[in-house]
Amino acid sequence: MSEGIAFGGLRETAAPVERTRGPRRGIGAAAGRLLGALFVLALLVFMVGPIVWLALRAFSGTWQYPQVLPSEWTFRYWRSVFDDPNLGHSIKLSFIFAPVVTVASAAICLPAAYAFSRFNFPGRRVLLISLFATNAFPKIGLYISMAGVFYSLNLMGTFLGVVIVQLIGTIVFMTWIPTAAFSAVPRSLEEAARDVGAGPLRVFLRVTFPLAAPGIFVAMILSFLASFDEAQGTFLVGVPNYVTMPTEMYTLVLNYPEQAAAVFSLLLAIPSVVLMSFARKHVMGGRLAEGFQIR
């Protein structure tokens, strides 16, 4: 997720068309069902296969081609990953950086998102688009010239430097998605609250914010994951002082037994799976489709 992210929505409101037309019969329908089943099977292998295969690998002792399953199962590599002090340290570091980056990103971007949605100032659209344009510049090229700036600001190898590098990857969706969320709050509701005597702060806290909260929540989760998964910039700025989990992964893939890399992969995937499960309803709910259409 660290390299660009985007969301639309599966709205659950639209009813299917076929229901209204009665069941189809005959060979055509059977062929259609068969085709559908094949499509699902292919999709299953394509989307889930690599992850399942990787998970099996994490528990395998001996596994020789062309056996379909490992011939020996073991937890050996789990123990070796947990016993390695470097790996444990990088896990801890990842869990420190991600929340810090998320909170910093929210503090910087949310006021801007509110302003983008509520005030129509000159250059508003240009600014929104230019935020996106900066995202289109290849990261590695950016990091190379950023290194120069970081050296002169003494940020290389520092905690703050890593936070800034990870923060940059979160700015676009931390601005865009909440902007769409704030825009979706009807102004009439805010006006109604004001009419019955609520002050501006109270209106924001009791009306605007709760209604925009799901969008903000998703943006924060995406930001957390982007920071958690960011490897390239952290590698350039943080090594050797700050080696986070994904950065460690590059080394692992090359230098450790396959099973250890698989174990580490599973560990690294846990926060993503847990957090995205929380956000799933809102992401699929289509609240965010507007985030990627500039208005």
Binding site: P16, V17, L43, I51, W53, T134, G148, I168, A262, I294
Partner: protein, 287 residues
């Protein structure tokens, strides 16, 4: 209120990018002095600008092969992502079975998995002792190729990572087409393919453009997928840049390649902005 993020972007993205532009044009002073002090094979001028670095990179045969690979892999990935996301979204829109819901759940799996891990999983899944080769072996296809460290592997990885966005965007677009329109076409005697072609397709152009442009920009600038699953050469420009920077110690050449990718991405980004502006004009938006 918009100042903080714009400021952060200006200082930590805008400024370095401008410095990088100056560096590729031969200026090694100011913010580039640190990077240029250790670099090799630089093209430097004290006054004015030089295009020598661009000339060197664009006449380098290996870079040209990487550039070519980047372009066709980007186009191929866009085409496959569009095909898969259209197929899944249509299937969801036109049927409502448990199978269809399974499909939608499957298509968004990559959202839950970090790219590093997905790339690694794909590498071993399609690798010389991976699942695909194992299954092929058992059905008697012993010469089934391994896609680990090939450009095909890169395409598989890029598509895998991009499918959820495509499916979410397309479904959202197709769901905003009213049922009444589809039923009216069906009642007037249009076949299902005809309905898709003349009703759903024209009404879903903007989401299609958004999916195509975002996928394109993502693939152009990607690093992790081609780095882990791709061959040494030719590979995408992302890993190639990284090589020029760290392995060859030629940051200026790496920056030139970054500029090339940026120009390509900006071209795609223009299509995205144009489509959005056009659609909001049509919708009668005032801003």
């Amino acid at each position: 209120m918009v100042l903080p993020p714009v400021g952060v972007v200006a200082v930590f993205i805008g400024f370095p990018v401008l410095a990088a532009v100056a560096y590729t044009l031969g200026r090694a002073d100011g913010p580039n002095s640190v990077v240029s002090s250790l670099a090799q094979r630089q093209h430097i001028v004290k006054h004015g600008v030089t295009f020598a670095a661009y000339h060197e990179v664009l006449t380098n045969q290996s870079v040209l092969r990487d550039l070519w690979a980047t372009v066709w892999i980007t186009l191929l990935s866009i085409a496959i992502v569009l095909a898969i996301s259209w197929a899944v979204a249509l299937y969801l829109r036109l049927t409502d079975t448990r199978l269809a819901r399974t499909v939608s759940a499957l298509a968004v799996v990559p959202l839950f998995i970090p790219v590093v891990i997905a790339s690694y999983g794909i590498l071993i899944f399609y690798g010389p002792d991976g699942f695909m080769k194992t299954i092929a072996y058992h059905v008697g296809w012993h010469s089934f190729p391994s896609y680990a460290y090939t450009l095909t592997g890169v395409v598989i990885g890029e598509v895998w990572v991009s499918v959820p966005f495509g499916v979410l965007m397309m479904s959202s677009g197709l769901n905003s087409v009213p049922n009444a329109l589809i039923e009216a076409a069906r009642d007037a005697g249009a076949s299902m393919p005809r309905t898709v072609w003349s009703i759903l397709l024209p009404l879903n152009v903007i989401p299609t453009v958004i999916v195509a442009t975002f996928t394109g920009i993502y693939v152009l600038g990607s690093f992790t997928v081609p780095y882990l699953t791709g061959p040494t050469a030719p590979n995408l420009l992302g890993p190639a840049m990284s090589n020029f920077f760290s392995a060859f110690n030629q940051p200026q050449q790496a920056e030139v390649m970054a500029m090339i990718v940026f120009v390509l991405a900006a071209g795609i980004g223009f299509v995205y902005v144009w489509a959005n502006v056009r659609s909001s004009k049509r919708a009668g938006a005032t801003s």
